[in-house]
Point group: C2
Chain length 410, copies 2
Amino acid sequence: MTDESNGAQGCLAGVRVLDLTQFEAGPSCTEALAWLGAEVVKVENPQGGDPGRKSIVGSDGADSPYFLLFNANKKSLTVNLKSPRGLALVKDMAAKADVFVENFAPGAIERLGLGYDVLRALNPSIVYAQVKGFGEGSPYERNLSFDMIAQAAGGVMSITGAPGGPPVKPGATLGDTGTGMLLAISILGALYRRAATGRGARLDVAMQDAMLHYIRVAFALTARTGEAAPRVGANVISAQVAPGGIYPCTPGGPNDYVYVYTSRANPAHWRRVLEVIGRADLIGDPRYDTVEARMEHADEVHAMVGGWTRQRDKYEAMRILGAAGIPAGAVLDTLELRDQPDFERRGVMQVIQHPDFGAFKMPAWPVRLDGAALPVRPSPLLGQHTDQVLGEWLGLNAAAVADLHAQEVI
Amino acid sequence: MTDESNGAQGCLAGVRVLDLTQFEAGPSCTEALAWLGAEVVKVENPQGGDPGRKSIVGSDGADSPYFLLFNANKKSLTVNLKSPRGLALVKDMAAKADVFVENFAPGAIERLGLGYDVLRALNPSIVYAQVKGFGEGSPYERNLSFDMIAQAAGGVMSITGAPGGPPVKPGATLGDTGTGMLLAISILGALYRRAATGRGARLDVAMQDAMLHYIRVAFALTARTGEAAPRVGANVISAQVAPGGIYPCTPGGPNDYVYVYTSRANPAHWRRVLEVIGRADLIGDPRYDTVEARMEHADEVHAMVGGWTRQRDKYEAMRILGAAGIPAGAVLDTLELRDQPDFERRGVMQVIQHPDFGAFKMPAWPVRLDGAALPVRPSPLLGQHTDQVLGEWLGLNAAAVADLHAQEVI
């Protein structure tokens, strides 16, 4: 799976990314580029670097698993951006870079002296990309943001949760990684244009705005109803059905559930459910024979299906329902997903050997290229590649690098 | 905002995408390519086309808003794939295409005679991309999937919801659009490699696997604890804090809430909260002065903050908290997001004129290129571009196209 001969490394071979991002929204973006083979150099302050290195409660001296997850395949270079020589060094690197990415708080990159106008003057064909919490021109453009703030202000929480209950925060970090993925797509589009035309680009995305992209089905509903899309619990916002939802399984642990769905577009799903649960006698019964009829008798339908699922564990329920051609998925948790062997066998999970952390099994890029998973290399130690990158990008020799170290510039 | 002179159209200018996708996971992917300027030709059956055209309850004869949202900027060509001449036509187009994308049920594209081996023989440099529910080699590889199934089996539901409560389905369609975005990144990586080397690629992604990418913070927690990541309600899975959560506002409607967060990394957030809520007397009070102390008194802290938010509407609360440097976000719903003028002014929302549907305001690609939003053109009517594309891609003249129509091939 980690054989580089599959050419995975080559997709973005030769692309140089100057990465001034931290935490998740920016790092998830540049990590996607790194997995695809770009040379991503993380520029970090010598005093601790990306604060994500110390994220997740309980981390000891080693870099946190949070950092390992969002910074694989990257290089790290430390530099003191507050020193004039350090800043000049980063500008020299920007002149050699194809892509520049940052996700500091609003205004910070300009105060550092690395705003778009400065870097474009040094490198007109640079692809300069930024993540902010709120868009330029938004009433909140100066506000701080985090994943949850974006999910609140971007509509995601308003459509998550039970009918009549309060809004709920999804556990997935859509505000961060969801935004990072949209910026990665845009960077790749700009790189394609640049390869053909030599033209640079300025890209910027707001986390709030990015959320709208992931709740477009809810906007479709609003277009029909003229009302805010409601919370519909486990059902599907665009087309509520019964059966449709999260049904309990034995032995009743916190994640012993199976999702069962019967599509409006395929009446066979309901007939298959009746056969599986041993109620073929109800096939054709007008109380249940259409989606509308089943929604009217939704409590009965849920009880019938739940009565069957409760007799089985979630894996058995998923296996039987799935084999019968009914869309079904066990609610799997992170421990189950980490430990089921098929994910590792398929390269969706890969074990890296981190020099401090040791062996770490982590989700890799989930898209296969030419039948194989992209290889994952451990996230860099702080400053691990400082000397190497200064030599390769800027041609600095050992004496010059030693002087920069002595002056505490790097 | 829709001025094409900004060059947005040009990012993927000249890239031809043969699009055999339907519903959302595939269409969201090819739409991203279309927004970036690729020529995306949707191949549809003449009897109704993409079933997404009729999605969302209550749609009349016109294409549904669901379809409009996921198929902007594309072309539509109808062809009967069950007829030998129709199939031959699509193969001729595949020979001219740069990218091919499909998300049929497992095995369907091979049964149609358009599997990877067939198209690669016709066009060795094609980028061939597929979305499936479960990965090749997974015990569920033959199973059907939908957005919710992926969110169940991919861990997302297991980390969404209240402590002690059942798993909750997020409203965002991460299983579909979340997967589509990862495939779009991979296609763009492969296109970049192809431009440099002429080499084609085969890409495939499973919706279940794609979900792991969006819940990596939960995997970081599991790496620390050795246990499944729990549900933590509105708090943050990696670092629970108080205040931190969804607080009620006046007048108490279903989405009258504000998310308030105080970062562990920045003790100033808590002091600012105390000042804003008029309790500066508690600054330095040991009962609340550290994150740990506040978590011990979490109920009191939530009551203090909630007492203040209840006196205000969510916009005022967000404005005051945000201006004080406290991360805060009102819970906005789809109607508010659609109708607030700043989104349209900034091009995040754009109004299209659809020939049947009429004016439709929809979320556009949220990343700005060179300071402007990418232009949005209405989704195509069924078969709208059949004749044009057959002429341009295959050089068929009017008589040849008329014959294909007469034979009901197209």
